[in-house]
């Protein structure tokens, strides 16, 4: 007949098991208990779950920019999946000239990106180019040019939206770098309401390359970049410095 084990002792054994630190005697004891009470496995899974949550307490750090596409590429090559491609449609036939135009813009964007990367390391350049080329070569990539106005009239850039990526990539050159306390915000307007995509600053060379989360129900044709003070709420009007060219 099996002895009655106090619940606290059972829990400690289960915790020790999940931590991988049971002595051989304890392990044997636990095996016996699990054999007689298989429902205890639920508790084991629960403790494993908690152990897996511990890294959530870490300060989160974003992986490098290019890693996402690198994993996509490698997965595609290794597993041999054809990432889903929709069947050819007449819609695409009619859009062929649009795609050609997109490629032309893509090449100019690559030039822009190259100039941005001149200040970066060679390795970063190669990786960034690979990422950008991969992004631009995807059949449904959408690219919206942006032009500077007023104090940022020399600025130009594009926003790139890629299927499979909930974030858009914003690339700009010759945008004045802002002093501390000021930021740029990318926004779109939908039914008279301003939707903020995110905020950013240009580097000392006037270059920007950031990824911003695409808001729901956005309208690409109504993009605007505003200059604002850090303290201003996202609802403020801001000072327009760039706009989308539809």
């Amino acid at each position: 007949m099996t002895e009655v084990v106090p619940p606290d002792h059972i829990n400690e054994l289960l915790a020790g098991y999940v931590l991988g630190e049971l002595s051989p005697e304890e392990l044997e004891h636990l095996r016996q208990m699990l054999f007689e009470n298989p429902e205890l496995m639920t508790e084991v899974y629960g403790l494993q779950e908690v152990l897996g949550l511990i890294p959530y307490a870490l300060p989160f750090e974003e992986p490098p920019f290019h890693l996402r596409s690198k994993i996509f590429e490698t997965t595609n090559a290794k597993i041999g999946y054809g990432f889903r491609r929709k069947q050819f449609s007449w819609q695409w036939y009619h859009l062929a000239s649009g795609i050609a135009a997109l490629l032309v813009i893509s090449l100019s964007l690559l030039g822009l990106y190259n100039s941005y990367l001149q200040v970066s390391s060679l390795q970063a350049k190669e990786v960034g180019e690979r990422y950008l080329i991969n992004m631009l070569c995807q059949p449904k990539t959408y690219l919206m040019p942006l032009k500077g106005i007023d104090i940022a009239s020399a600025a130009s850039g594009s926003i790139v939206i890629t299927p499979g990526n909930p974030k858009a990539t914003l690339v700009i050159q010759k945008l004045p770098s802002l002093p501390k306390g000021q930021i740029y915000r990318l926004r779109s307007v939908m039914n008279g309401k301003k939707i903020t995509w995110g905020q950013f600053n240009a580097d000392a060379q006037g270059s920007v390359i950031v990824q911003l989360l695409i808001p729901p129900n956005f309208k690409v044709s109504s993009l605007i970049i505003t200059l604002e003070s850090w303290e201003q709420s996202p609802n403020s009007i801001g000072y327009p410095v760039m706009m989308g060219i539809s």
Binding site: A15, E21, G46, I54, R68, F72, K78, L95
Partner: protein, 198 residues
Amino acid sequence: MHSDVVNTNHEQRTLAQQTDAELFSLFKTGNSFALGILYDRYASLVYSLALKILTNPQEAEDLTQEIFLIFLQRNTYNPNRGSLSSFISIMTRSRAIDKLRERHTNLKFLQRWCQTMNTETSSFITPVEQASLTERSQRVRNALKQLSEDQRQVLQMAYYEGLTQSEIAQRLHVPLGTIKTRARQGLLKLRQGLQDIK
């Protein structure tokens, strides 16, 4: 083209509502959006944990890639046994600790040849954006704060440095039995504080 982009986004947002297991199944059928969403959900977790343990951005990046490829190529995740976040963080920790031990072995070897080695590495830090992730992080941090300093210390040394309880006992000059008790009770207390997180 505009409507196409909107449709694409609509599809992504629909997918974003799916569970991890559903997304994994969809990925297996060739849905690349599903892979994108899984990556966005867990890349920061994997990378941050790898960076914490390995303290080297390049190694952390390589490990992040390795973890995703293993996860996608080997069908070892069983949703009935726990969440994907736990599965993937345990796998990351385990592999990172293996690499850390391997590195220590190599380092000892190199130190026999060289008198000094500068292993300092640079890191780049950007804040995470997703609110749900932030909320979960806050919950875990709060739960860890409920532990005694001793319990937290033992769990973190075991988790991030891969030390056995005997090694921790030696390092802290505390009896092994005390370390065992601190670790077990710390984990049980953490379980109480995080019971509703899945």
